[in-house]
């Protein structure tokens, strides 16, 4: 075992937390300033580590890399094992990238309990990293559910007017899923005798048990995704969350559901996956069409983007469960792309919210005149969200649809209508906010994006374009691991076919 890069990625933020909680003392202003700087410094360091991980990653290897294993609860044979493969790699980088952005985005807008806020974000980063890096089912569970705690506080303390309702809703939904998932993990542990994820994948349980376990995991992951009809917590959470909370929620937390499907549901329960495939397809289609239509009638900017996220995640689940090469690759790519685009869209909302303190689209309009730079960046992101070729949004959307077409043409036709609806609500948002006649003098007097805001928005906008033109950088790295997953799935399904044929 060499340099413990994965442990550092996971626990460095906690070192920051320790520093913030116990070392920094002094008057309030001093503490706040130092809290911000510490959090930024730590998260930037983690980001650099994640980039090192990306550069060192061997793209020809389909298995786990940089594996670290420590004894944990030896009595039960559980090990503290971390590893990264093509599926998790970019989520780690995404989490590493978005955390410092969140901290910079909160630089001025958070004015109360700054230290606690920074602590919450650093803890959140630890949990996010842990979720994507854990190779043990219990470890995964702890991190996966742990994410809820800081998120709950971020919305509940620094959120908007209805923050209590929203955080309660978030909590209620997630709790429901987590109980069931815990049951599933425990059952697996007793059935197979290990909690190591690779071992669990290698020895799937009996098909009828798979059905129950699949449903239990589905409850947890589908809430996180979120899939229709358990999506209503998301718009409320976004609306009440502070900007950075929305960014991390849309950028990383939603992806944990999709990641869970790829890590648990599909490889561990292949027969059940095949069985439930139509259910996922139709839920995805409903998500795409239903939430797109709902997004169309929203007047709250954040709510509109939140609903669009549900629709975009519909493409993810759809593509993933086609179990085709293009569908799987497209799903992962779509998650990464959406992680960037939706995060940046929420940042864009944050920019104008900081100036006018309203999310009502009707209060804006005609701001392109005073904010040309803002309008340009927003335009790029809007087009990315619409899935314009040349942006990352297109690659994910198109590949998932291509996968869907091979699996079920009717499903693909329904899902493709999302392309039309997606254009409708995003263009409407853009027109109402940026274009049009000036109706609100205060809105027209807003200043253009400042250097700090450019610093966080421009890199994301450039990434969206770069990944749209050269997506192979990502696809080459996610490819082998997903191919392995697909082969694994097909092997088990094929075996069943063989069994039934023989019997």
């Amino acid at each position: 075992m060499g340099f413990p890069i994965l442990s550092l990625l996971t626990f460095l933020p906690l070192v920051g937390v320790f520093f913030l909680a116990f070392i920094i003392r002094g008057d309030q202003e001093f503490v706040e300033r130092n809290a911000k700087h510490t959090a930024l410094f730590v998260s930037l360091f983690v980001f650099i580590l994640s980039l090192m991980l990306l550069f060192e990653f061997d793209k020809s290897d389909a298995g786990f890399q940089f594996v670290e294993s420590y004894e944990w609860i030896s009595l039960w044979g559980m090990n503290f094992t971390l590893g990264v493969d093509g599926i998790s790699l970019f989520f780690v980088v995404l989490a590493g990238f978005l955390t410092p952005i969140c901290i910079i985005a909160s630089w001025r807008s958070i004015k109360t309990r700054v230290k606690e806020y920074m602590v919450a974000f650093l803890i959140l980063e630890t949990f996010m990293m842990g979720t994507f890096l854990a190779m043990d089912a219990f470890l995964f569970y702890i991190f996966f559910e742990g994410v809820l705690l800081p998120m709950f506080f971020i919305i509940g303390i620094w959120g908007g007017v209805r923050r209590v309702y929203s955080s309660y809703k978030l909590f209620l939904y997630t709790l429901l899923g987590s109980v069931l998932m815990l049951l599933a993990v425990l059952t697996l542990y007793y059935q197979v005798g290990t909690s190591s994820i690779p071992d669990l994948i290698a020895s799937p349980v009996a098909a009828n048990l798979q059905m129950w376990l699949w449903l239990a995991c589905f409850a947890s992951f589908a809430v996180k995704m979120p899939m229709w009809p358990i999506h209503t917590w998301l718009p409320d959470a976004h609306v009440e969350a502070p900007t950075a909370g929305s960014v991390i929620l849309a950028g990383v937390l939603l992806k944990m559901g999709g990641y869970g499907f790829l890590r648990f549901s599909i490889p561990m329960f292949p027969e059940a996956t095949q069985y439930f495939m139509p259910l996922i397809f139709w839920l995805s289609i409903v998500a795409i069409i239903y939430t797109s239509l709902v997004a169309l009638v929203q007047t709250d900017m954040k709510k509109l983007i939140a609903y669009s996220s549900v629709a975009h995640m519909g493409f993810v689940t759809l593509g993933m469960f086609t179990l085709t090469t293009q569908g799987l690759q497209g799903a992962v790519f779509q998650m990464i792309s959406h992680g960037l685009i939706s995060a940046a869209l929420f940042l864009c909302v944050g920019v104008v919210y900081d100036r006018l303190h309203t999310r009502d689209m009707a209060q804006y309009g005609g701001i392109v005149k005073n904010m040309p730079r803002y309008a340009t960046i927003f335009m790029i992101l809007m087009l990315g969200s619409v899935g314009l070729p040349g942006t990352s949004g297109f690659v994910g959307e198109f590949l998932t649809l291509l996968g869907a077409f091979q699996a079920d043409i009717l499903v693909a036709i329904f899902a493709t209508t999302g392309v039309v609806l997606g254009a409708a609500y995003m263009l409407l948002l853009y027109r109402n906010v940026v274009f049009g006649p000036v109706t609100n003098k205060e809105a027209a007097a807003m200043s253009d994006v400042n250097a700090r805001e450019l610093l966080i928005l421009v890199p994301i906008a450039l990434m969206v374009i770069a990944l749209g033109i050269a997506p192979n950088y990502v696809l080459d790295r996610t490819g082998p691991a997903l191919e392995k997953l697909q082969n694994h799935y097909e092997y088990h399904i094929g075996q069943d076919m063989g069994d039934t044929n023989n019997g």
Binding site: L175, G366, L388, L401, L402
Partner: protein
């Protein structure tokens, strides 16, 4: 050279887009114009190499998306079809760029405007030089965005914003078909690269797609889906409603995007896929019917409109209909021929109209014009040339291409070919009529403008009139010059190949001898159809209507001219000599007039069928689905019962965040202890 031709406009866009404010308007205009004109020069040079000397090439730039069998590269495919398009695009674009310098002289965002024009040009070039369907889709959507940005260029105007959104969304409906077509293509052919598709079409002619228990002929399905995309972009009946509204954009935009180039992308798409469409006779029939219906209906609307730009817009739609029914009867060469001639004369008409609008202080209603011809003679002359070409008057470009299309439709000897022929003849009459209606209402009679406007009428500056002259040259000569190359009568196959090599040989001689353009022009005029297209357009021998069109009866050849002449004469009678007639016809045929003037009520119909329901569904799903049902049964239901229990317990209802945090921590602890107890029990 290939790279310069395609990427110079992109460079201009990026540079001016980023630094336009810094370098100023004049420099921005200079950079964009120079880049696009250079691109045009390179395109013409490429035309000479690729089309005239049969030297097609495919350049691979970089990989784009590689996922399993799905392999797509960024590449440039330069064959006759693409270089023809490149020349049309870059030449018209150059004219429009230069013209815009004058037209937009009073605007405050000149750099942005020029940057968008260059972006459009680049996207259009990517579209036509693509070697696979996905890059074509990239260009396809790219031009859509450029169009969106330019229609809504005056973004403080709500009408402009509405029009730009409508254009984008209606086009997306077409893209829906195109995207599905690409997916179907991949499923059936296992590739979306042109070369591989065209090579393997014959192997897939018997393939079927299973859909809802039906077995659908795969190639027909693919052709249909691609055509839906074409219908959106080329404003064919059903997906045409965005085009008239797109006239909200500045007039140079209408000329470039909504007349000469972008709207012809659909024609290009079908022509490009002639090897596929040829094996999908049902799809071809559908293309013919839609095209013919569009040509006819758009012409009927065009006769009744008063906005000068809208008249030309409906005329564009109608002419695109001609191109499509030409494609439908397998006369791909004729469609491309009309595409090219139309690009010149329609851009000329639009820019001429822009010059009129410019002179009239932004007045667009023809009822407020009249008597302009003495005041703006250059524009007047140019409009005449454009009008003659559009009406298909002999010796002007439109005459050659439009007649060819009508003859080919007749020569198809099918019921839909006949339908297209007669619809086309009727449209030819209406075309001539509304063109001269426009000319007379705008330029003749007494001026109906206000004194204020009249005092400002002036001829446009040279920067605007010179592009008009360039386009006018195209509108006069492209027909006669390229006739043989695009649609000329065929010879014996062997002779062609012999000539082919002969041409190559003479070309080399020319280069050595340094012979200039006169010789080249001679060569163009003597070009042979099959040698010129060099297999880029595929026609089954039994479908070769272009060949058959050369042998149609005399009356078929002459009927379009007669109808055109009749239309012009009638327009003079109606609008100059007996101005009571229009009013008489309006009242005598009131129901028909209302349908024509109301644009056949497509917008109203779509509003009822799609827009309103989408809105209602959205509201319903949100208020009833999400709030009442899902939240009502889910969290809110639980929360209200919890509250009831809370009230029972007395003081839990604190409303504080800590309360919930407390509940959560308790739950987590409960869960964890449950794990420990369970696991302890087992051990």
């Amino acid at each position: 050279m290939e790279y310069y031709a395609v990427f110079l406009p992109l460079i201009a866009f990026v540079f001016v887009g980023l630094f336009g404010k810094m370098i100023g308007d004049r420099a921005s205009q200079l950079i964009t114009c120079t880049c696009v004109i250079a691109s045009a020069i390179f395109s013409v040079m490429l035309f000479n190499d690729v089309a005239m000397n049969a030297d097609p090439r495919i350049l691979t730039l970089a990989p784009w998306i590689n996922v399993g069998d799905f392999v797509v590269n960024w590449s440039l495919r330069l064959d006759t079809l693409s270089v023809v398009m490149m020349c049309v695009i870059t030449i018209v674009s150059s004219c429009v760029h230069v013209y815009s310098v004058g037209y937009m002289s009073h605007d405050t965002a000149k750099a942005r405007f020029m940057a968008y024009l260059s972006l459009f040009t680049f996207a259009m070039l990517m579209l036509v030089t693509s070697d696979n369907l996905l890059q074509l889709f990239f260009g396809w959507e790219g031009v859509g965005v450029a169009s969106y940005l330019l229609i809504g260029f005056w973004n403080h105007k709500p009408s402009a914003n509405a029009a730009s959104m409508k254009a984008f969304i209606v086009n997306r409906v077409g893209d829906f078909g195109l995207a599905l077509g690409i997916m179907a293509m991949f499923m059936v052919f296992g590739t979306i690269n042109f070369t591989e598709i065209f090579e393997s079409v014959q192997a897939h002619t018997g393939d079927v797609i299973n859909f809802l228990g039906l077995e659908i002929h795969a190639i027909t399905a693919i052709a249909f889906l691609l055509f839906i995309g074409a219908m959106g972009k080329s404003a064919q009946l059903g997906l045409h409603t965005w085009l008239p509204d797109a006239m909200e954009g500045p007039t140079p935009v209408s000329a470039l995007i909504h007349a000469a180039t972008m709207v012809t992308a659909g024609v290009f798409l079908v022509a490009r896929f002639s090897p596929v469409f040829e094996y999908a006779p049902d799809a071809l029939m559908f293309v013919t019917i839609v095209g013919a219906a569009t040509a006819f209906i758009a012409a009927t609307i065009g006769m009744t409109q008063f906005d000068i730009k809208r008249v030309i817009a409906y005329s564009t739609m109608s002419q695109l209909g001609y191109m499509f029914f030409a494609l439908g009867v397998s006369a791909y060469g004729a469609a491309m021929f009309h595409l090219m001639t139309h690009a010149f004369f329609k851009a000329l008409l639009f820019l001429g109209a822009g010059s009129v609008i410019h002179a009239m202080s932004d007045e667009q209603d023809m009822r407020n014009m009249g008597g302009l011809w003495k005041k703006i003679p250059v524009t007047y002359t140019m409009m005449w040339i454009g009008g003659l070409a559009l009406a298909g008057v002999p010796l002007f470009a439109g005459y050659y291409s439009k007649d060819m299309i009508l003859e080919a439709a007749y020569a198809d000897h099918s019921w839909f070919g006949d339908f297209a022929f007669w619809a086309g003849i009727a449209a030819a009459f209406m075309t001539a009529f509304y063109t001269w209606r426009l000319m007379i209402m705008t330029f003749h009679g007494k001026s109906r403008a206000s004194k204020e406007v009249q005092s400002h009428i002036h001829e446009s500056p040279a920067v605007m009139t010179i592009p008009l002259v360039v386009l006018a040259i195209g509108a006069i000569f492209t027909g006669a010059v390229f006739y043989n190359g695009f649609v000329g009568g065929g010879h014996d196959g062997h002779a062609q190949h012999a000539e082919n090599t002969h041409y190559n040989a003479t070309h080399e001689d020319d280069e050595h001898a340094g012979v200039g353009h006169d010789k080249n022009l001679m060569k163009v005029m003597e070009l042979d159809r099959e040698m010129f297209w060099n297999d880029t357009l595929f026609v089954l021998p039994e479908n070769d209507t272009v060949e058959a069109a050369h042998h149609v009866p005399f009356w078929v050849k002459k009927l379009p001219i007669v109808m055109g002449a009749l239309g012009i004469v009638l327009a003079y009678i109606f609008y100059l000599f007996l101005p009571v007639l229009p009013r008489f016809f309006k009242t005598a045929f009131k129901p028909i007039y209302i349908v024509f003037f109301g644009k056949w009520f497509f917008d109203e119909l779509y509003n009822i069928l799609f827009v309103k329901p989408a809105w209602l569904l959205g509201k319903g799903f949100w208020k009833i689905g999400d709030k009442t049902i899902i939240d009502g049964l889910g969290p809110d239901g639980i929360s209200s019962s919890a509250r009831r229990i809370g009230k029972l317990l007395g003081k839990v209802q604190s409303g504080f965040i800590y309360h919930y945090a407390f509940v959560m921590v308790i739950s987590m602890i409960g869960l964890l202890s449950w794990i420990f107890i369970r696991s302890g029990g087992i051990l």
